[in-house]
């Protein structure tokens, strides 16, 4: 397993990408598998940090939560841009103390936060393990800290060991 497939998830993702681009057929299945295995072996030379997914069943839950939150945030930000006079919007920075240290989990958190139009990831410090975000419509700092730690970070901690 580990000799032939040092990064099984990468190999499977490459195969999936190959099949999505070329269509599903036996020939492409074989070719895609060869490419997936070969490419993931080449990547091993770079020695990327290895992360293990512990709880697969929580991934759909995280994806669903993120899709809904991103949609809500899209609507909220669009409304604030189109009708700026409705209420006085205050934007500002929030410092979020994190528990996560896994690079892959931090990368996913970065994707979630930057893809949510209401929040932007500005700075992260690994020594203090603190994250600085900029919030578009800042009403209550504690609300955002609570949202990130309890809604996303806890799930990410459970999913990635």
């Amino acid at each position: 397993m580990s000799r032939l497939l040092p990064y099984p998830l990468l190999a499977v993702s490459l195969l999936a990408m190959w099949l999505l681009l070329n269509g599903l057929s036996l020939g492409h299945l074989v070719l895609g598998s060869v490419i997936g295995v070969a490419a993931s072996n080449v990547t091993a030379a770079l020695q990327p940090p290895r992360s293990r997914i512990r709880r697969w069943h929580l991934i759909p839950k995280l994806v669903a939560i993120v899709l809904v939150d991103v949609w809500r945030s899209n609507v909220a930000v669009a409304r604030l841009i189109l009708f700026p006079g409705q209420h006085r919007r205050v934007s500002g920075f929030v410092i979020v103390p994190l528990e996560l240290r896994e690079p892959a989990a931090l990368a996913i958190l970065a994707c979630i936060l930057t893809c949510t139009p209401g929040t932007a990831w500005v700075e992260y410090d690994s020594t203090a393990n603190k994250l600085l975000i900029h919030v578009f419509d800042l009403v209550d700092e504690a609300h955002w800290i609570d949202l990130i730690t309890n809604r996303y970070e806890r799930l990410l901690l459970e999913i990635l060991a």
Binding site: T116, P117, W121, Y124, T127, L132
Partner: protein, 126 residues
């Protein structure tokens, strides 16, 4: 691909709705980029186009071509994945560059540094 007229009405309506939704959200994001006052506020506006703006157009495209070719056409999913994975790179680069500039100019209303000077410099900031 000139068979758009063969598309059933329900699919045509749904696909147009999705594409229009995506295009409108992207437009609102572009308007925001012009109208918002501060740099940090403007960071948020393009996310509209990169998320549900793109998602609307891609879902419309998936529906249109899947119904037209009577088989699932899903390679648009890859566009969504790569867009999601690469957006943070640009946004973080811009955000950090702005923060660096503002800190070196001692601008007002800036957050305190995440690390106090007493702590050792073993970690990297990302």
């Amino acid at each position: 691909m000139n068979h758009a007229a063969d598309l059933p009405v329900w699919a045509a309506l749904l696909a147009s709705f999705l594409v229009l939704l995506g295009a409108s959200l992207t437009l609102v994001g572009a308007i925001g980029l012009v109208r918002l006052k501060t740099f940090y506020d403007r960071l948020h506006a393009p996310s509209l186009g990169a998320t549900w703006g793109a998602a609307g157009i891609l879902l419309g495209s998936i529906l249109f071509f899947s119904v037209l070719q009577s088989r699932p056409v899903l390679h648009e999913v890859l566009i969504a994945v790569f867009l999601t994975v690469t957006t943070p790179v640009t946004l973080m680069l811009l955000g950090r560059a702005a923060l660096y500039r503002d800190r070196s100019e001692n601008a007002v209303d800036l957050p305190p540094p995440l690390r106090t000077d007493g702590e050792t410099r073993s970690g990297d900031s990302i």
